[in-house]
């Protein structure tokens, strides 16, 4: 296939987006069903066009078409097949096509699954979505065309950055973008609601599954990125508070807040303006993230090639999308009336506190990330805001949040009785105290804060399970009765339970990894042994190995504990021949409770025959990934709940009951 076909498909998608962005919107304003109905086929057609462009790009990579500049710059004929495919989005231009593809996919999904939305709302949502497409399609075409040809074509390509030649590239960006970009639908729903001038429980109900879907993917994308950094960077770090990580984390924090505030709108008809604002801001932060990564505004480990025109173009898009929607909000929000009444100590009150803390946490990350830029612009000192800042500000904010979370699911709507609540939670409180004391006793010299965190993690898990136990009458009813109740609980209830439980598990992992990490760095000759945390690592030897486009020193470690063999670890230090760059490939053996992590370094300069060897003992790290998986499972369970299924409810059916809430 010729690359021009891909280029043409992108242009076609732009034209389709133009139609999709105008006709349905006009139709909704003037009440013309025919115009509104253009939205769905247009959304599907737009997706088809971008898909063709995407496939053409992949094809160019697969056949190593070195007449295409993008392929020349990021591929090589000897690169393994998987990385030829994933390399298509391992660069700025290609990743923009993926970005737009996912955007169009969500638009098409609304067209296909949103059949139960009122036609005017659906038309407006699709139009707003098309406007975002329009912005990013034109950006791709005008500033970042991946199909540009080069003449004369070089004999071979320049190969992909070796750090990216990893299965992580296959999953991390698509998943992260699906999360990031998925919030565009939520944004479109919010803008559409502002245009319609109507926000009610039904609206919240329609928005929630999309929020949930985006949230699940973003959770997965962030966890995958963290996991990738953990095994690829070779020193067992898993979160660096780098600007690029921060900008993916902020939409997650705010998206989590949105997920919770939408519940209040749905069930209690309150917090409406706030929820709309959260919906706008969550996607705005995604956009700002895209801007920061691609404009070279901040120094970061992984930013794309810097080009000021690109930055300027995205800033223009930001100004239109974010500025426009916030202006609309400023006009419409003051007239929005809140509904339900509730006491401060209640499910609603808890969710307000959740939003307050998550909002503050987001603001903290935002301030920390952008502060160096602000200060520089004002002509002040140049400062660096690194992990120690976030550990001092963000981490403490999570403490009260987890504290509230533990009791959150037990709080009744409207008003709760605090004394009674604590009574129901006495087992959880006792378990938390026991857990903290156990940590203190088991690990001599554990920092006070770590002890507190252990208590909090146990509290969260125990509090969450208490709610489930109450609902199924565990130990209070015959086992068969409890079993029947457990099966009859709605999936959305299990969703919340799993999501909260997942966070408790992930927290345990973070505590273990942060406080229990041990390392040993030594010069080792083959045959020598290094001991760390009860495990013996015997260096069997180092041999020269080669792969398709690299050569490596591969070490073999026999790991044993008290003389019993545990695992064989084979870390590598690779040299990629085309780019002449090194990577460390750590070898990790996990027992479920601890990761045994080995890295082979350079041969020693001073002592011949010896190698620099790094061994890390990383307790509970696998729990972080397991926790993220459980959280995602919770989201998926909730998503699969019949009541929440995309577009299921119909506003008209309940209009009588809901249109005018008690005011």
């Amino acid at each position: 296939m010729s690359p021009e076909l891909g280029h043409f498909a992108l242009i076609l998608a732009l034209v389709v987006a133009l139609v999709q962005g105008s006709l349905p919107l006009l139709g909704a304003a003037r009440g013309r069903p025919g115009w509104m109905a253009v939205g769905e086929p247009a959304a599907v057609a737009q997706f088809a066009c971008v898909l063709i462009a995407f496939l053409v790009l992949i094809q160019a990579y697969l056949v190593s078409d070195f007449t295409v500049l993008n392929v020349v710059e990021n591929s090589h004929s000897t690169k393994p097949l998987l990385y030829k495919i994933t390399g298509a989005w391992g660069n700025h231009e290609g990743s923009m096509v993926l970005w737009v593809l996912i955007l169009a996919l969500f638009g098409a999904a609304v067209a296909l699954f949103g059949r139960n939305l009122p036609p005017s709302l659906r038309a407006r949502v699709l139009s707003v979505q098309a406007w975002i497409s329009l912005g990013f399609l034109s950006f791709t075409l005008l500033t970042s065309n991946p199909f540009e040809r080069v003449f004369p074509p070089p004999a071979d390509g320049q190969d992909l950055n070796p750090l990216l030649q990893d299965p992580g590239l296959a999953f991390h960006p698509p998943m992260l973008y699906t999360g990031y970009v998925g919030f565009s639908i939520v944004f479109a729903f919010a803008v559409a609601a502002l245009l319609e001038g109507r926000v009610d429980a039904a609206w919240a109900r329609w928005v929630r599954p999309w929020t949930l879907a985006a949230w699940v993917f973003l959770t997965g994308g962030i966890a995958l990125g963290s996991w990738w950094a953990y095994y690829e960077l070779g020193w067992g770090g898993w979160w660096f508070w780098d600007p690029v990580e921060n900008v993916s984390f902020m939409p997650w924090l705010l998206g989590t807040a949105l997920l919770h505030s939408a519940i209040v709108v749905e069930k209690r008809d309150a917090l409406k303006a706030w929820t709309i604002l959260l919906a706008i801001l969550t996607f705005s932060l995604s956009l700002i993230g895209t801007f920061v990564v691609r404009s070279g505004l901040l120094t970061s480990v992984h930013s794309f090639a810097v080009d000021p025109t690109r930055g300027l173009y995205i800033l223009l898009l930001l100004a239109i999308a974010i500025g426009g929607s916030l202006l609309l909000f400023a006009i419409r929000a003051p007239a929005m009336k809140g509904g339900g009444l509730f006491a401060p100590v209640s499910r609603e009150g808890g969710l307000v506190l959740n939003n307050l803390l998550l909002g503050t946490a987001t603001a903290t990350v935002l301030i920390g990330t952008l502060y160096p830029l602000f200060l520089e612009a004002l002509g002040g000192e140049r400062v660096s805001v690194g992990p120690p800042f976030f550990n001092l500000t963000f981490v403490p904010l999570m403490m009260p949040l987890v504290l509230v979370m533990g009791a959150g699911l037990l709080l009744p709507w409207k008003r709760a009785d605090l004394a009674g609540l604590l009574g129901r939670l006495k087992v959880a409180i006792a378990l938390a105290v026991v857990g903290a004391l156990a940590a203190l006793w088991l690990y001599d010299g554990t920092p006070v804060l770590a002890v507190l965190w252990v208590g909090l993690a146990v509290w969260l898990a125990a509090g969450t399970l208490t709610e489930w136990a109450e609902r199924v009458h565990l130990f209070r009813a015959p086992a068969a009765d409890s079993w029947r109740r457990a099966r009859q609980l709605p999936r959305s209830a299990y969703g919340a339970t799993f999501a909260h439980l997942g966070l408790a598990i992930a927290l345990a992992g973070m505590i273990g990894a942060s406080t229990g990490k041990q390392e040993a760095v030594e010069l080792l000759r083959p045959g020598e042994t290094l001991s760390l945390a009860g495990y013996d690592y015997r260096l069997e030897g180092v041999e020269r190995t080669r792969g398709p486009n690299w050569v490596a020193n591969t070490a073999t470690f026999a790991v044993s504990r008290d003389g019993r063999p545990v695992a064989t670890l084979r870390p590598e230090r690779r040299l990629y021949l085309v780019t002449n760059r090194d990577t460390t490939e750590a070898a990790i053996h996990t027992t479920g409770l601890v990761d045994l992590y080995a890295v082979i370094g350079e041969p020693s300069e001073s002592e011949s025959g010896a190698w620099i060897v790094r061994i890390y003992h990383e307790p509970l790290v696998p729990w972080m990934w397991a926790g993220a998986l459980v959280m995602m499972l919770g989201g998926l369970l909730s998503l699969s709940d019949r009541r929440l299924r995309v577009g299921a409810p119909r506003r008209a059916a309940r209009d009588g009951a809901l249109a005018q809430p008690a005011e």
């Binding site: 429980a201 070779g234 020193w235 770090g237 508070w241 749905e266 309150a270 120094t299 480990v301 509904g339 339900g340 009444l341 509730f342 006491a343 401060p344 100590v345 939003n355 307050l356 803390l357 503050t360 603001a363 903290t364 301030i367 920390g368 502060y371 002040g380 000192e381 140049r382 400062v383 660096s384 805001v385 690194g386 992990p387 120690p388 800042f389 550990n391 981490v395 403490p396 403490m399 009260p400 504290l403 709507w413 409207k414 008003r415 605090l418 006070v448 804060l449 009859q488 609980l489 942060s514 406080t515 990490k517 010069l523 019949r642 009541r643 299921a648 409810p649 119909r650 059916a653 309940r654």
Partner: protein, 175 residues
């Protein structure tokens, strides 16, 4: 009853605000660790631990957002060696950091100093929390707050809630 509820909520918010404040000084999350080479290490484990803690808070000036503790760059290694020299010579942690700041500016500190130009950085989050907390409190107290209406659910409300939450069964209307 209502006053009690408001007060307990206030206590909750207060706890939420104070808890982190009380714990601010000694924080966990020991940065990380690693590019330290075998030859660099000090024999005295206490000094070595101090060197590691300082290194984790010093930015590698040629890398992007990496501490010298985790960087493999040459100048990061030189700075790690320098820190160990100064500690061995009897410098305090603060003196070592001041030495580096005098040569590289505040930029080398991954934890910015608390100064007039970083006031908004350090107090910004607190400010957001306080203002947000004030807003939330006003919202809860104001018209829609725990007014007389916050009694038990009315039959109509309960019915609506049941339909919306579909507690257990599929009470929500489907087409």
């Amino acid at each position: 009853m209502r006053r009690l509820a408001t007060r307990s909520f206030a206590a909750l918010v207060l706890a939420a605000l104070l808890l982190p404040a009380l714990l601010l000084p000694a924080l966990l999350l020991s940065g990380g660790a690693c590019a330290v080479l075998p030859g660099e290490r000090l024999d005295d484990p206490v000094l070595e631990a101090r060197a590691r803690d300082i290194s984790a808070e010093i930015r590698c000036v040629v890398c992007q957002n990496e501490s010298i503790d985790s960087s493999g760059a040459g100048i990061a290694q030189d700075m790690r060696v320098l820190i160990r020299e100064r500690l061995s010579a009897g410098d305090s942690d603060a003196q070592v950091k001041d030495f580096l700041v005098a040569r590289y500016g505040d930029y080398v500190l991954l934890r910015p100093p608390f100064a007039s130009y970083t006031l908004l950085l350090w107090l910004g989050p607190v400010l957001v929390l306080l203002l947000g907390g004030l807003g939330a409190a006003l919202y809860l107290r104001g018209g829609r707050g725990a007014g007389a209406g916050a009694g038990p659910l009315s039959a109509e409300e309960r019915g609506r809630l049941a339909r919306l939450s579909g507690a257990g069964d599929d009470a929500a209307p489907r087409e």
